[in-house]
């Protein structure tokens, strides 16, 4: 039996693939930046506000981590319009990715913050800093440095999870693949090209994040590194 692979029809749709790549990168970058910012806010909120604030943040994190990203996406895409928000697929995707990544990142960053020894906080408070100032100037950066490997893994996982946004017809890379497959009927060829593209994107992001870690958290400044095992998945 001879297997006939025809890549030409797929290559003809290159512009769809390129747009898909751009959208995948855009969604991931957006989710990473916004999600991290939200996570820092949530960690700060939990550290500095009372017990109830902490419980609220915990509840949010547990719900996001124990339900599938797809269901969260559906909830946002199908549900929010009923509340009066006009939501295109791409916007819903970005929101869902941001909220999801923020939950995982909160967990990771909080572990980093908790690993900073109490004596650092005491030293800061003794110098008449407010709790917020201690969090911002003394605790946050070393905490980030310690969990950067775990956080980086999480970011790469988010890039891969963006593929799930194809379920609501967002034309990122997987969505583009679905369209191309429908047009050309060359399923295997389409998906092997798209798979290889994801592979390249993931490895590139890994390398970029590693380089950023070296640049912003240099070894010489004496920041200890923590490698957390595993890292959470979607």
């Amino acid at each position: 039996m001879r297997i006939q692979l025809q890549f030409e029809p797929v290559i003809a749709e290159l512009d769809l693939i390129l747009h898909g790549i751009l959208l995948t990168i855009g969604l991931s970058a957006g989710a990473i930046i916004l999600g991290s910012a939200l996570a820092i806010l949530l960690v700060g909120f939990k550290s500095l506000a009372g017990r109830w604030a902490g419980a609220l943040v915990d509840a949010y994190v547990e719900i996001m981590r124990n339900t599938p990203f797809l269901v969260q996406l559906f909830m946002i895409f199908f549900g929010l319009p009923l509340l009066g928000f006009r939501m295109a697929g791409t916007e819903a995707a970005l929101l869902a990715m941001t909220l999801n990544l923020a939950a995982y990142s909160t967990e990771i960053i909080r572990a980093g913050v908790d690993s900073i020894h109490k004596s650092q906080t005491e030293a800061g408070l003794s110098l008449a800093l407010t709790r917020l100032q201690v969090f911002r100037y003394i605790v946050l950066k070393p905490a980030f440095a310690r969990v950067w490997p775990a956080l980086s893994s999480q970011f790469v996982l988010m890039l891969l999870a963006s593929s799930i946004c194809s379920f609501i017809s967002v034309p990122e890379l997987s969505g583009a693949a679905a369209i191309i497959e429908q047009r050309t009927f060359r399923s295997f060829e389409t998906y092997i090209i798209v798979t290889c593209t994801y592979l390249l994107l993931a490895l590139s992001l890994k390398a970029l994040l590693f380089w950023l870690g070296r640049k912003f958290f240099p070894q010489t400044s004496g920041l200890a590194r923590i490698e957390t095992k595993g890292g959470a998945r979607r």
Binding site: A128, T130, S221, G222, L223
Partner: protein, 243 residues
């Protein structure tokens, strides 16, 4: 008006009472050494003075501030009361200079240029001018402790607290720290130090306080306390040499 007034302070950790009615006055410009066995409550007492520990009853007034729970008043107090810890607690992600400049800049709101001048000055006082841009990790224990002293000095405090600051150091490194502390004492800083360095207490401190089981057992001029201890406990403490 004494710089430090401690009146009948009680402190519990859960069911254990660690300070059982401690009263102590330290005049401005005086150096008071607090000695005693581990568990006698010395460090706890010191940490109560800048509010790191909360006492259940009693009154503490230091540098004109009365100790209470209000965060804003506590911060004002901490601008006038500096503390140096046993484990230095320098901020590892900041250089020596940045460690020193941080609090004056963001807690006191001083101008960056002025703060830098101040930092260079206090660093010179502890003899480490050349380490301004080094990271704490690259310094020896004694150097780190001196930086910690400089960091507190940069806040221009009225009272300085020292919590067993040489206990974590290798013996050959304690000297450089004690020299800095002696300089400070001669310059007229009000100092309370919890210490195991008996000769320092004897020669540099004006008053020595011996704590035992959460109470002040004996207190008085250093020369008298060491030469003629009145209680058995202090006598056995001094002779045992096990601190």
């Amino acid at each position: 008006m004494p710089a430090v007034v401690i009146e009948n302070v009680h402190k519990r950790f859960g069911p254990v009472e660690v300070l059982k009615g401690v009263s102590l006055n330290v005049e401005a410009g005086q150096v008071a050494a607090i000695i005693g066995r581990s568990g006698s409550g010395k460090s706890t007492l010191l940490r109560c003075i800048n509010g790191l520990e909360v006492c259940q009853s009693g009154r503490i007034e230091v540098a004109g501030h009365v100790l209470d729970q209000d965060p804003r008043r506590l911060r004002e107090l901490r601008k006038d009361v500096g503390i140096v810890f046993q484990s230095y607690n320098l901020f590892p992600h900041l250089t020596v200079g940045e460690n020193i400049m941080l609090a004056p800049r963001i807690a006191k709101g001083l101008d960056t240029a002025d703060v830098r001048i101040l930092a260079v000055d206090v660093l010179a006082q502890v003899g480490l001018s050349e380490k301004f841009d080094a990271y704490p990790d690259n310094l020896s224990g004694g150097q780190q402790q001196r930086v910690a002293i400089a960091r507190s000095l940069a806040m221009q405090p009225k009272v300085m607290l020292f919590d067993e600051v040489t206990s974590a150091l290798d013996p050959e490194l304690t000297g450089e720290v004690l020299i800095v502390m002696e300089k400070l004492a001669k310059a007229g800083m009000t100092m309370l130090l919890v210490t195991h360095e008996m000769s320092f207490a004897r020669n540099v401190a004006d008053t020595t306080v011996f704590m035992h089981q959460g109470k002040i057992w004996e207190a008085g001029a250093s020369s008298e306390i060491f030469a003629a201890p009145k209680t058995i406990e202090l006598r056995s403490f001094l002779s045992a040499g096990t601190y």
